[in-house]
Symmetry: C2
Subunit: 286 residues, 2 copies
């Protein structure tokens, strides 16, 4: 049976034609998205995701058409109608349909949709074995703190990773001190040196929801946390590395551009954070 | 009567629901567009626009589903069905519909649509009187040579222009020598100093179709042409300035950020290029 999706207050089969060619998401990338884990029919950190989406919408002067509790209610209906209890909830808002002029249209109703899919297949045992990553130039725009649908650089990076047999592509920039890593095409990044957890500062990156939780957990387990530029030579020489995202959770990184990180196996501190995160997930469900 | 648009080989009312929430243009900005002038039922520089679109599609490994003559034939049908002889033809291609994973899907059919609108209303007598522009930081990504639908920076810039009562926003970047201008949010830019026409080099800007024609015309009328970085202090002190685009044609710029350019009226060389461009348009129709 085809999946049902939520669109502007109603439920439709996911392949139903719904948007016209006037939608500004389609013509201008004038939209925002979120991805939320669904576990046992409940939603992980639902509040934080909606909060971020609302904040970005306000930044773009885009009306936000639903209250959080309304969205949660619709999301729960998607669980029921689709019989999916463990999955990924994709939410998107666009500025709506209007004649195609760049400036914001007046009195346009946003389009809002949610798609609940079963959890995607991850590479076998990747959480236990770790994954390979590659680097890709950070060619993205200047407002990466917004989770927008202007994702061409991200899909080009991910496609390159796939072609090279890697799980993820990490964006790199340069400054006078060398090459530094910013984040993955759809993940945040961390390195561990001794008992210090290093993650890139919020300098034109997305403030990841999982990233924030992992920082909180690291504090609880008495790690030192530093948010600053993470240089390539450090990353290659670090004791442990991992990435985080809604879908990846805490995922060990064991190779970058075919250079082994430490011994090329997941490190003990990463495994600790991974297991604490997993055990805490239940308490973050809504 | 509602306008009819072209979508994947058929004609539909423009507000018809056609695309599903799985379209990659909608979820990733994974699409390209063009805008072509329609004059007397014919299309201005149709070949060049399609050529550019094809080239960008090839860069993004996106299949291009139509031959140029097929598209021209469909575009002419839009003229007939809508009774619009003078207008703007908007073309867009997206990578099509697929489950939402970043990497390119295999065997997905692109979605292709064309919308023919009557020519938009321009500010009264703007071609004779000139327009004001503002500056906006060039926060765009690194592949601006592609005419993609990742246009959030462009709409933010244009919205700012509108809020400030200006016609267009010009993107600015900085280097060790100062602030320089790159292009408008939907236009190319030129300055004239003495008998030299200066336009920014193709350094992460869109190679504009009208820009290329104007450069050809300038050569024919024996102007010297320089493609290089155009600094803000030069621009403010230049003899004449104008912008070009499919819709704007050759449009004099008389103020930038409330600083008058020269005497604050269109210059004679700009008017010359404007009139030659206008007179040549007929010969570029297809």
């Amino acid at each position: 049976m085809e999946l049902y999706i939520f669109y502007n207050g109603y439920f439709y089969p996911q392949s139903a034609p719904l948007l016209s060619v006037l939608d500004r998401g389609l013509c201008f990338g004038d939209g925002l998205f979120e991805l939320i884990r669904c576990i046992g029919g409940k939603f992980l950190l639902f509040d934080r995701h909606i909060q971020r989406m609302r904040k970005s919408a306000a930044f773009l002067e885009m009306p936000f058409p639903y209250r959080k509790d309304e969205l949660l209610d619709y999301a729960r209906k998607l669980v029921k109608v689709n019989g999916i209890k463990d999955g990924e909830l994709y939410l998107e808002i666009t500025r709506g349909e209007a004649p195609r002029y760049h400036e914001f249209p007046r009195d346009t109703k946003p389009n809002f949709f949610m798609v609940l899919n079963a959890l995607r297949q991850m590479p076998e045992n990747c959480r236990e074995k770790g994954v390979k990553v590659i680097t890709f130039p950070d060619i993205r725009w200047g407002y990466c703190h917004l989770k927008t649908i202007n994702l061409l650089p991200n899909i080009l990076a991910k496609e390159m990773a796939k072609k090279k047999g890697a799980y993820e592509a990490l964006f790199i920039r340069g400054d006078e001190k060398g090459t530094y890593l910013t984040e993955g095409s759809s993940s945040s990044i961390f390195a561990i040196e001794g008992d210090v957890l290093i993650t890139p500062e919020e300098d034109n990156i997305l403030p990841g929801v999982t990233r924030a939780i992992v920082i909180e957990i690291a504090k609880q387990v008495n790690m030192k946390i530093t948010e600053r530029r993470l240089y390539m030579n450090e990353y290659k020489a670090c004791d442990e590395a991992f990435l985080t995202s809604t879908v990846s959770e805490v995922l060990p990184v064991i190779r970058i551009d075919n250079k082994k990180i430490a011994k090329g196996i997941p490190g003990p501190k990463t495994e600790k954070l991974q297991s604490v995160y997993r055990s805490l997930m239940q308490s973050y469900l809504q």
